[in-house]
Amino acid sequence: MSREYRTFKEAIDALIKWTVERLERTPFAAFKFTFPKQYISPFGYLGTLTAIVFLILGISGAILMFYYTPSIETAYASVKEIQESVPFGFVMRQIHYHASNFMVLLAVFHLYYQYFSGRYKIKNEVLWVTGIILGILTVLEAYTGYNLILNQRAMLAINIGMGLTFSAPVLGPSIAPILMGGGYFDLIVRFYALHVFIIPLLMMLLLAVHIPRALIIDMPMILGVIGAIFVVAGMFPAELGLRFDPTVGAVEVPEWYLTSIYAFLRTGSERFWAGALLPLLFAIFFLIVPFVDKSKRLSWRDRPFFTAMGIASILMIIVTTVWGFYVDFSKLTVFEQLYVEPVIYYGSFGIMTMVSFFITYRFLTKPRGRPAPAKPLVLSPRAGTAGVVVTLLLVLAFSWLAVLTYLENLPNISMFNMGMSMIMLGLMLHIYRHTAFATART
């Protein structure tokens, strides 16, 4: 190009224009990115947030691969090295660990928001089904990940997972040896391959089908989520745990997204039917729901049966998860501490599920009067400003109190501070765009 630009800004603008025009030949042009100019509810773009956390997991995981060795003899030692002696290794591991928790959590919220607002209809069946499969793969990815440390907790999870696979009817006995190989020395390598390549690759392929063409990129909220990962990592840093030793018993509870399955196994029921069948029914229900719920109605109020099913499934998750975490330390032996009485367990499980279902169903099918028209909210500019200022002061006071309380004995203050600064940056971005947009309007 022989044209001359008078200012630097002109040159940059021309370069951007040139690049954007050429990008129109790529699949990028199919996406419509929206950078919202004011606050919008994050429920609508929880999927984007999940994908961004997935990206963070990819980056931090790839960096962890520089030091981690998938070998039965050195795996634990290499994680210990990352945690204790590699510069920034601790931070990397904490990001990776806590981001995985956030990803599962965000995916669950995403699922339920889309479920209750009936988004699986209106030609979204493919998005919905791929989303459910992505959710299952997310849990499998997290599961294979925390097994790689080879501590007591990992071995418990490996054991339960392999036991379930082995006891699956028909295919189980031939699939399990593929994961297991000749023993633990093979298993660790195979889980590593699954964790760093096979499952993420499947997830990315599915993501190509699952991703909608209109994407909302809300920078303040993204910074808030990343900051929250750091804050949680600062407050509850993941520990190494004890190195796996098959001659020592330890009371261990799996990660929170697997405790619900663990609870079933602790009742002493037959492995597969307890530990895999119910989660499977759960997944199948969500997979087929768009093909069963054929009504044209989207709102949760107008779909009493499916809303009640959704509420009951949430109660089901809560009850089983709480039971999974329950350990009775008053008992003497490890076994007695972990044993869950089947009658009490299945009783509470059944009662809570059914009661929540019927209460929700009755509540929604009860004839309602015409709802009163919503009162328009009128705020005088001054009253609005005062409210905002008071709220901000309260938030500031509380967060400062929290910081002071934790400052004394916080396990990892630096990550907490890093997270806080990210959240503050997000807040500042939000205030900036708000004021910039407001002045542009007037």
């Binding site: 082995f166 040896p177 000749g182």
Partner: protein, 183 residues
């Protein structure tokens, strides 16, 4: 369309199918790639001699032995050969069918005791009588057995496994005595 052109097309189609099959046929055994070969539990391996055992003693061994300490040290290859107090020879997998810890032999009580959650197995048939393993339904409540052959010199050989390691054994189908053969 019919006639000679259709016939020619059919021949070509058959040829094409045959060609695809010919290319894919060598891959039919691909599934074997995913299973480790030396994990097959049919190897004949000498463990000990009858003279090494007396009532209430146990010998720990790994099977199938490869010579590589990393592989031989794997919990899934750990077994115990024991002589009960009334002189029966038995060999069991050491992987507890509950949560895969490694039980040890308590000779004075005639029991295999798991150190983790306290499962207790009888030494004469490997069936769990107490603890979490005993609560698991049949056949997930017994230790897998090593099939043994004892020759004229008193040498004891492992020749196979009865049951699935870490899972259980159908101990009502095949009695423990059938797993110890004198040749």
């Amino acid at each position: 369309m019919s006639g000679p052109s259709q016939k020619r097309r059919n021949v070509l189609r058959a040829l094409l199918s045959a060609a695809v099959l010919a290319v894919l046929a060598p891959f039919s055994g691909l599934a074997r790639y995913f299973y480790r070969e030396n994990a097959s539990q049919t190897q004949r391996q000498r463990i000990a001699n009858l003279k090494d055992l007396s009532p209430g003693t146990a010998i720990f061994f790994s099977y199938p032995r490869t010579g590589d300490p990393k592989i031989d040290g794997d919990p899934f290859r750990q077994y115990v050969l024991l002589m009960t107090r009334d002189g029966k020879i038995r060999a069991y997998s050491r992987v507890c069918v509950h949560l895969w810890c490694l039980p040890t032999y308590a000779a004075d009580r005639g029991e295999l005791v798991c150190p983790c959650h306290g499962s207790i197995y009888r030494d004469e048939d490997g069936v769990a009588v107490e603890g979490p393993a005993a609560l698991q339904p049949y056949p997930y409540n017994a230790l897998p057995m090593v099939r043994l052959e004892i020759d004229g010199n008193g040498d004891i050989y492992a020749v196979g496994i009865d049951g699935l390691i870490g899972l259980g054994r159908e101990w009502r189908v095949r009695s423990p005595d059938e797993n110890v053969v004198r040749v």
